[in-house]
Symmetry: C2
Subunit: 718 residues, 2 copies
């Protein structure tokens, strides 16, 4: 549930207002599908015990359709030759109203719901007696679970034009169904008003302009001046301006309002489940401190702007920032530990397991080791602006390809708060902006570390270089920002990574599965194979580089090698599942899938014909993470190394070596199974891109006649 | 329009069958929203002049709901204590049928459509007299634009169980509404039968299994044995098996059938527009030669498998393939030119402009130059398997990072057929599989070149390494294959690139916009500035590296430099639009947006405060393609070069130099404005990734206790 929508939990009485643009299609015909879905939803709410009131528009348009048809049916041929006058609006309202009510009655009856009609005129509300009576009638209806359906009694209304008043004005009048709905919300003491529109909610600009953003929570002080309204809806009197006016007034008077699309078939249900759809108006919205909905974009833009200032610094200045971060960590050790202890105490109380608590705990040693690693990073060779290639294109025209920062990174990591420090330091070193989302167990530790690190960043760059995302609800918003975030690195469960990959257009660096294979060849040293297989499976079974499938050459089933491997694994408590061949040969349970990551003391075992069958098996069923061959036959080994199509391929070494630190890359951003950008364990270089710099002296292309290309590669150092 | 759906163009009479799973929700309640949308669509078809017949299920379920409610309303408190017996199915049918028809009548009436009820029993169809009468009645109804609504007369049917017959069986009976719909399609000589289901169409396996693929066109010979059906729909008698049986029989008898989802609000309309949704059954489907719908995936998988065999070859063998390609091009010159001449003749007849025709034409010179360039590529240094980094992790444990092919590329290019040769040669050189989609103007030339090239690829690799996609309709299918295609390179209009970026999860290499800026500093040599600005705008205005915005330092408005630049551009016929400042200062029309690519002899001009304002302007409004500063002040130049955040940044040289050939990269894959993987002009390296190879002698990690890390960088050559 979105925190800004938590109030829906205490909603009992809800008014739903459906406008002409929802009831009617753009060609004027009734939108029966949308109306049907509306009735289904109101039935559902009714069933769930909500008190549901409907305010409906659409009668005039519907009446106009019917009257037009009636006129046609009544016309003689000569009548049709004459110019057709406009239909009377009041007449249309009278015809349409009964037609619309008959339709609602039929639809609701089909759903075993009784509905009722209440037609009101604006003058009525000035009369206190009327208001009391109305309130009593509605309560009586709701008590019998009948749905009251309100509309303005247009057919007999004498009102000419909208009034220039606001509805909390004492005169108690309305000028369209949006304000009627707002007025009823007050009169009938509703807990929520839902205004159904033809767009998703209130946008910062015209909804069809791609640069307009949906405003999740309207804050008058902030948005009133910012918003540019587009055209009014083509049909009906309302439009977005009317909705916002009604919503602002109702919210001010204490009734929360949500504007959402009436085109979707389940938006009302979703609104009442607290889902983050549409735009909320709430009188306390400006006080909501943790309200970050609208700021995801601002946060990312601020990080990008700060990163540009960081890039403009000299290498030595970036180094000094890192040294200041290291000092600040040590200086604020007590504060950090205090916050961390609170996290740890909560985790212990919540009964988390020991390994999580040990990863969560920041000991003084861990903090000084973190400070030390930041200093090491400070002193590493400058990664940004490295010349990767230098070419003389022509006389006095020199091209350089240089390394440059990616831009803004979004890193989503789990419980270890030290990861925050490492990633932040990597970002500063590589000139990138950063948005960080840590696990909630380390909430206070992360906040403390973030504060310490950003306070060490000079104002010329701004602490906004590193944004701390505090709520999981902000992630979907962030994942939409493919215009300002350049790379997402999720470090967590398969499920997290898969979900993120499925829900963003931003490139994702990481891996969903780590289904690592070891192939034991017929020419393997069996003792070595036992050691490596044992290490690969049991050293850290939950790691992504742990072995999940063991492939064994068929000859080893005769020589006893296969048995030795099985015994070794069983001795370590590893549960074995067989591939089709192995399960029948060894009489063990068959693996549910050959593409399965156990992440525990279990693995799949299969017998294969030869190295080519092993390669095929891996390319077909693997996840392209890390694979290993164990053999003394170097020719077979080279075949395996060249033909297995994975990020890392090993000969006679445990798959557990696939790791940034073990590979000597220093801090690891993650392990990528993608083939684009970076593959395998990724260090700083995964946070860099390149840029082409061309220095000339006035050269022009002029159809390639203007210049004599030399294309000479030059030494990298000038 | 999808070619396999072209037959919908001649459809006049269409039968739509809506099943219980569409009419009713999973909780048994009426799905009013879906029914409303169904009526809206049938009204629309009716209006468009189609003869529309509806076959509806759902009456029994609806009756059961109503009877249950009725029983409750009739019950005393003591009745309710007793166990409730099952409701009689026939009684439910009787209640539900009138209720459902009343609902259809109301809904259709609201849309000014008259509907009618036709209840039939299976025995009836054995009677020729009945069949004749039915056909006449329906024709009479349709002539009056009345929609006949069919259902089985369940309430008085004595049938007990489904028959084991097929409907083209002479007995003429049906056993559920799917077969009734099929039977009616034959009897009433419908042109199309649409079966609405609760899933998108027929899948190759259970629809909720992610590995199941939607079958676009059912081919009995191919699919009958392949398909595994999931559970039947929970409601109603039909389910997918019944639909497929009915569809196969109807199609066999000459009535095309489309199974599609009844959950969407517009699927029937889309089906009749020939959109590629749902599953088509057509008696001639097995004869459709160009039917590639299902083969997009197969084509990509074949390319990947072939690429793995290509990678397994020795460098020298890959070189020989390229030499064979070059020879084949020369040897088949006449055939290629013949096909090309046919394309050219068509293009001339179609009135295409000269520049397109010149790009389309393959002269003997072009062909030999192509052959030559393939030979150059053959002799270039092997790009695959290059050692990029070599580290000794520990004693006898050596890590190598080597270059390796990306996998499978999808290249979408425009009219130049020579691009096909260049790209194919690049793919072979870099060990990649390739899917090519060329422009339709070069259809025959591309087919000829593709045939020549693939026939030069040895069978050990297979010509399937390079797939030629012949229809634009296949692109959406290909773009879904993020599991087998690794990179998409669109080479065409902004619109094409944007559409592709928006519709695929596969990484896209390229650029949508090329909004290149030139900033003329106050310390510029104005003569040089005039030359460069003129070249950047006029050398090839439609190129992505042409200047679109000219930023001028404010001081130049006093010194006359600004005027000289304007005069120079106007002399070349360039239309100028101003930014906010320039438009008022120079009294010219204001640019509609500062982020605009003219691609013609027009550009935006704006006056800026200084280099920092220019940098801000570019970072804010640009497309991060290519920007240039013209100045004699080297400090200002370096500020610009380091702070402008674009793929290419130039000093005193035309933006037109941003190009793979001019940069000396050889063949160019494209220019990327993405920050991931490759940026700026991309040559072969954009088609490569890397792979980590670790060679050990039995090392294990064992909690990092087992090994003494050295992490020594070693020379790249062993």
């Amino acid at each position: 549930m979105d925190p800004a929508r938590a109030f829906v939990n205490s909603v009992n009485r809800v008014i739903v207002k459906v406008g002409t643009a929802v009831v009617t299609r753009s060609d004027g015909r009734l939108a029966l599908g949308r109306l049907g879905a509306l009735c289904e939803q109101l039935k559902e709410l009714n069933l769930q015990g909500y008190e549901v009131i409907l305010v409906t528009s659409g009668a005039v348009g519907l009446g106009r359709q019917r009257l037009r048809y009636r006129r046609l049916a009544n016309s003689s041929f000569s009548d049709l030759q004459k110019p057709q006058g406009d239909l009377d609006g009041k007449a249309c309202a009278a015809v349409g109203q009964s037609s619309l009510m008959a339709l609602y009655d039929t639809m609701f009856s089909q759903l075993d719901v009784t509905s009722s009609q209440l037609l009101v005129n604006d003058g009525f509300f000035k009369d206190a007696g009327f208001r009391k009576q109305l309130s009593e009638t509605v309560s009586a209806l709701l008590e019998s679970r009948v749905i009251p359906i309100f509309n303005e009694n247009d057919a007999v209304s004498t009102r000419k034009a909208p009034y220039e008043h606001c509805l909390q004005d004492s005169s108690g009048i309305f000028w369209d169904n949006d304000s009627l709905a707002g007025l009823l919300a007050l009169e009938l003491k509703a807990d929520l008003l839902v205004l159904l529109s033809d767009v998703e909610g209130l946008y910062s600009g015209p909804p069809n302009d791609p640069s307009s953003k949906l405003i999740h929570t309207y804050i008058k002080e902030k948005h009133q001046s910012e918003i540019t309204f587009g055209d009014k809806s083509r049909l009906g009197r309302g439009g977005m301006t009317a909705k916002v006016n009604a919503a602002v007034c109702a919210a001010h008077a204490g009734i929360p309002v949500i504007i959402t699309s009436g085109y979707a078939t389940d938006n009302i249900i979703r609104v009442l489940q607290g889902e983050k759809i549409g735009t909320v108006f709430h009188k306390d919205a400006h006080l909501w401190k943790n309200l970050k909905e609208e700021s995801a974009h601002e946060m990312a833009v601020a990080a990008r702007n700060s990163s540009r200032r960081l890039q403009a610094l000299k290498s030595e200045e970036r180094r000094k920032i890192l040294l200041a971060v290291a000092d600040a960590l040590e200086k604020n050790q007590n504060m950090i530990r205090l916050e961390n202890e609170a996290d740890v105490a909560d985790a212990v109380a919540a009964g988390y397991d020991k390994s999580l608590i040990s990863r969560l705990t920041l000991t003084p040693e861990k903090i000084s080791s973190l400070a030390k690693s930041v200093r090491v990073l400070a002193d590493m060779e400058e990664p940004v602006g490295q010349i990767l290639k230098r070419t003389e294109l022509a006389d006095e025209l020199v091209l350089e390809k240089i390394s440059s920062p990616l831009g803004v990174l979004l890193i989503i990591f789990e419980s270890r708060p030290d990861a925050l420090v490492q990633i932040a330091a990597l970002a500063i070193r590589s000139g990138n902006g950063l948005l960080l989302k840590g696990g909630k167990e380390a909430r206070r530790s992360n906040a403390a570390l973030h504060k310490v690190i950003t306070s060490a960043i000079p104002d010329t760059v701004s602490g906004k270089l590193i944004g701390l995302v505090t709520s999981r609800d902000e992630i979907p918003d962030l994942l939409k920002l493919d215009d300002v975030i350049d790379l997402v690195v999720p470090r967590g469960s398969n499920k997290l990574v898969s979900q993120i990959k499925a829900s963003t257009k931003i490139p994702v660096l990481g891996h969903a599965d780590g289904i690592c294979h070891i192939y034991v060849d017929k020419a393997a040293n069996i003792d070595m194979a036992k050691q490596i297989v044992k290490d690969a499976k049991t050293d850290y079974p939950a790691a992504c580089n742990a072995m999940e499938t063991l492939l064994v050459h068929k000859d080893l089933s005769c020589t006893g090698g296969l048995n030795e491997l099985i015994l070794e694994l069983q001795r370590e408590g590893v549960q074995l599942y067989g591939g089709p061949k192995a399960s029948s040969m060894l009489n063990i349970a068959e693996a549910s899938s050959l593409h399965h990551e156990y992440s525990s003391l279990a693995c799949t075992i299969e017998v294969v014909e030869d190295v080519f069958a092993a390669i095929d098996h891996i390319n077909k069923h693997g996840s392209a993470h890390t694979e290993c061959i164990i053999t003394e036959d170097s020719e077979v080994a080279e075949t395996f190394l060249s033909q297995v199509d994975s990020a890392a391929v090993f000969h006679n070494a445990s798959t557990r070596f696939c790791d940034g630190a073990r590979f000597g890359l220093g801090a690891e951003v993650g392990i990528s199974t993608s083939r684009i950008h970076a593959r395998g364990p990724v260090g700083v270089e995964g946070l860099l891109t390149n840029k082409w710099i061309l220095r000339g002296s006035g050269q022009v292309v002029d159809g390639d006649r203007g210049i004599n290309y030399t294309h000479k590669e030059k030494a990298l150092k000038a």
